[in-house]
């Protein structure tokens, strides 16, 4: 198993953290992992993006041109990755923020209303967990439970009170995607 997953959104949407949760989960289940951000210019705002690689073997390149999976949070991310995801790959699309259509027939596309679900469960800032949960449903690179555990273990101390809601959102994303 060797899989590359990109998370991409605006700064503040939590794409980087979603990637980290996945990375922790995969690491804790014994996989080789890398997580690398595409760190932007020395200034505010802009894009937040990371690439996670999960593999049974030692990982060479931590970056790829054509990821297996892209979880896209916003329009620009969709535009970029709908050309980059490899043929046969998966794209998880945050339909709450994205109004562009996908015109790739050689990839699987999963639309999920990340924003709405997160708001429904309490806070739009949990959109990232909806999308992660959904991705895991469509592409079980790790068990959902591993992701839940990773989330609990790696939320910073001062955010531990958000663990439960986030886990709930993660599950909801997973379930929503499973249904579809």
């Amino acid at each position: 198993m060797h899989q590359s997953i990109v998370f991409s959104g605006f700064g503040g949407q939590g794409a980087l953290f979603a990637g980290q949760v996945l990375t922790y989960a995969a690491m804790d289940t014994g996989r080789h992992v890398t997580w690398i951000p595409s760190y932007g210019p020395e200034m505010r705002g802009g894009v937040a993006r990371c690439t996670v690689i999960v593999s049974d073997d030692e990982i060479g390149s931590p970056i790829v041109r054509n990821p297996d999976v892209a979880v896209v949070f916003n329009n620009p991310s969709l535009e970029k990755f709908q050309t980059e995801v490899r043929s046969g790959g998966l794209m998880v699309v945050n339909s709450s923020m994205i109004n562009v259509s996908v015109d790739r027939s050689d990839i699987r596309t999963l639309w999920i209303a990340g924003g709405e679900i997160a708001i429904e469960l309490g806070d739009v800032r949990m959109t990232n967990m909806v999308l992660l949960g959904a991705m895991l449903a469509a592409n079980p690179v790790v068990e959902l439970s591993a992701a839940e555990q990773a989330l609990r273990d790696h939320l910073p101390e001062r955010k531990q009170h958000l663990a439960d809601p986030n886990v709930e959102v993660l599950r909801r994303g997973y379930r929503t995607a499973t249904k579809e």
């Binding site: 980290q20 997580w35 760190y39 020395e42 990982i59 060479g60 390149s61 931590p62 970056i63």
Partner: protein
Amino acid sequence: MARELWKGNEALAEASVRAGLVAYFGYPITPQTELLEYLSLRMVKLGRAFLQAESELAAINMVYGAACTGVRVMTSSSSPGISLMQEGLSYIAASEVPVVLVDIMRGGPGLGNIQPSQGDYFQVTRAAGHGDFHPLVLAPATVQEAVDLVYLAFDLAEKYRTIVIVVADGNIGQMMEPAEMPPMRKVKKDRPDWALTGADGREHRIITSLELGAERLEALNLRLQKKIARIRQAEVRYQEHKVEDADILIAAFGTMGRISQTAAEMARAKGIKAGVFRPISLFPFPDERLEELSRQVSRILVVEMNAGQMLDDVRLAVGKDFPVEFYGRMGGVVPLPDDVLEVVERIGAELNDEQR
């Protein structure tokens, strides 16, 4: 110690703490800043010295001062900041005090940008300041290796009374990977016998890089050259990946080493026998081993995130008649495995043609 997920910069910082770092002086600069930020909390909590200097110039001279007292000390920066340290580095080298420096390279020249680069190779291996000296230069390719090398760097710095530079591109500073931290070492209480500790019950000691007489300065230089020779003898480090039966050998360091490894695997999947030679010590450069390998492969491809700097060392090692090709990207563009593969395939095709 269990493996944990570490960001490269923070891993470098924590490993340094565990190596017995007594004092850190540095200045913020992307993509190195997390190292400084991490230590701003960690060192202070441990009651050790942390100071954000007013500049890189001040930082390297603070490091110089602390090093003269025989404690473990480091600074870190990125390319433009390293340029500002050149005078200080030359003084430190001439004074033979141990110093560890981390350079998380970014795109240059000038202000450039903050994307990953390997553009400081010449600066760290050839001319980290005026005059004849070479720091010992180590280039990790993974976060674990960054941890191990910086931990080792303090020992090597002390052993040879030299500057050890751990040099990595921004990718390594910014990425997260599992790593196992080395054990926490106690801060050594005793100081070496050359250190400035106060002339209490002994002759006063002097640390200087001034030698007014030409013969005396030459003697100092000969001592430095001898040390360099010892380092060349003992501290060569490299990693090989499937070189045994390789036709095409990719030579690349740091991140480019691991990316090349992926490219080599892809090439092998297409029937091209590619292998990777990854120098870990950039100075001393593993020239003997590379020369040896050159006798067994058909072509060497050097891949760097610069305009061709390690390339000189490769050419010096294998000679001008051996076919060496170069693929380099600059300005923060990171060659991806398929970019490298493309070149490897082209070379593979050429080799086939030649054989026909």
